[in-house]
Symmetry: C2
């Protein structure tokens, strides 16, 4: 596929999750081109300082190539690059930018496989519409990894993920061919993690919508309610709120999934409601976004659930209320940011 | 009624609202005994320093008598006092204390009229049950008054209130007699405010439940949602939240009132939703409680609405969600207070 049989990977979104993926994929022998925006200057000069439970401590690590724009990533030495995989690990903020437009320059029609390591529901729909001939897969990942300071990555949780294809017309590829592309990516990923001490795994699922809705049972409830009430996961678990609010809200999301044709098992609600231990001090991503006044992934986590609920006439009043509260908070955070920039 | 024809008033709850009521009632010629708990030592020594839009600046003001317990208030010079009015302006926190048990020592059956200057719905029910022979009225008050520091009161808003009787069996008193007692209290209150420059008024309503549900349309929505999102009233108004969340929630409360037999006018929702100007920086009481980690009046403001909704099978899912979020926040605030006291 790539030049000299080395696979070409373009990574877009080099935060805590994406940079670890770059480490893994380079260990697997692929050539990774990382697109960095705000951190381009510091990382192209100094590389990343990585402390990782899976990969140990590495100073000044860089992927093969670091560029500052997707347009730069699209060519090398004046020649277009045909990427085998484009891995997207940016935040999903459809009201701020379009993933489709961002990745377009590095997608070779009928060739490049697109890998979304991102949160949310129905995130595959705009990609399939824009790139109908490209294989598409997504990953639901549990990895305690984040950027610290300018160019450091700290990963405290083992990299476990579930990846599956989003089957579509795909330029006439059969279901088996689409599955094979996903399996190839999983093989690479596990190859890159084979020396890690804690046995991280990247697992295949053939029903990705189930995996994504399963995750949104947790993300749509714990993540959002922790953010609204500024409580950590353990506090939410220890309060009555889990029984009185989160589980009823999970039922709305579960019903919506069913109505949308995604058959979550009956046990999913209990398993997600009691997945994290009551003494956890974990602060989910949306709570951290509130802490730092950063944009939240509200639309793909709850907005998409509500769209499906409306399409299928599934009652979801708790979900709607939580969504509207966070929309208000988002408005307030945006206003505060404008004031800070002197624009208001 | 009182000795030498002077009316005896016992005031329980000497915060921003209660202390201004004490000033007004003393100006009207009544003898006010104020029960102060935490502030007894400082106020009995130094009095209150008052800055009031209605009553000007007064240093070291005290009502006729200041006591530290309701039991002390019940007697003077070893003789029991027969109070004509007991005015209650404590916070309504039924899960922390019982107003009935607190005021019992100063209630003379068949004689004392009870005046509740408090928030919430159905706050009259336990009083009527405990004191079936006593006249009862309540006040819905708009007054920008608060305590500052140890013994200061700052009142920036004119004292406007609506008072009405809660009609009940009342030891055989007719509706007219109960109304007459309320009118007497209103006469006194307006007498005490007659020299105020900005023409504050205390107005009679003969349908107090309507007035209280009208107020809870605002209190149950703006007050609670400002507290959850830590936004001021103007921010809530300027965000989409007013249309998308607060007005639908007001509809639930309006429907609940109707189902409970309280006929709020159709216009009530619009008038409450647009009562405060969009540039208001007002921080409602519950938001201030969250700011300072103090108990919120959640049960009488939303808990009672939800009880009525359940009794009448009125759907109120938004209200329930807002209530549960604040219950969680309340739990977290209580835990934080225990940690501070070293009990956890």
């Amino acid at each position: 596929m790539g030049s000299q049989d080395q696979l070409n990977v373009c990574l877009i979104g080099s935060g805590g999750v994406g940079t670890i993926a770059a480490v893994v994929l380079e260990k697997a022998g692929t050539k990774v081109t990382a697109v960095l925006r705000s951190k381009y200057a510091v990382v192209s000069e100094k590389g990343w300082d990585i402390e990782s439970i899976d990969h140990g401590n590495v100073k000044g690590w860089k992927p093969t190539r670091v560029v500052s724009t997707v347009t730069d990533a699209a060519t090398e030495d004046g020649k277009p690059i045909k990427y085998d995989f484009v891995v997207v690990s940016m935040k999903q903020l459809p009201d701020l930018y379009s993933i489709v437009e961002i990745i377009r320059p590095v997608i070779t029609p009928s060739h490049t496989a697109i890998v979304l390591i991102q949160n949310g529901i129905d995130i595959e729909l705009p990609i399939i519409e824009a790139f109908p001939t490209n294989p598409l897969m997504s990953s639901v990942s549990i990895i305690g990894s984040k950027t610290v300071g300018d160019n450091s990555i700290v990963q405290i949780g083992t990299d476990n993920s579930t990846i599956g294809p989003h089957f579509h017309e795909c330029g006439g590829r059969s279901r088996e061919e689409q599955l094979a592309t996903t399996k190839e990516f999983i093989r690479l990923y596990n190859l890159g993690m084979k020396d890690a001490p804690k046995k991280p795994v990247c697992t295949l699922t053939e029903d990705m919508p189930v995996a994504r809705w399963h995750k949104v049972l947790w993300n749509g409830t714990f993540n959002t309610i922790c953010a609204i009430n500024r409580m950590d996961v353990g506090q939410v678990c220890r309060s009555d709120g889990r029984d009185r609010l989160l589980i009823p809200m999970m039922k709305e999301i579960w019903n919506t999934a069913r109505a949308a044709g995604v058959d979550l098992p009956e046990s999913a609600i209990q398993s997600q409601a009691f997945r994290v231990s009551d003494d956890s001090t974990f602060r989910p991503s949306m709570l951290i976004d509130v802490d730092y006044g950063r944009p939240m992934e509200l639309e793909v986590i709850l907005g998409s659930v509500l769209k499906r609920a409306e399409q299928t006439s599934t009652p979801a009043p708790i979900t709607k209320t939580i969504y509207e509260l966070l929309k208000m908070r988002k408005w307030e955070m945006e206003q505060a940011a404008l004031v800070e920039k002197g624009n208001l």
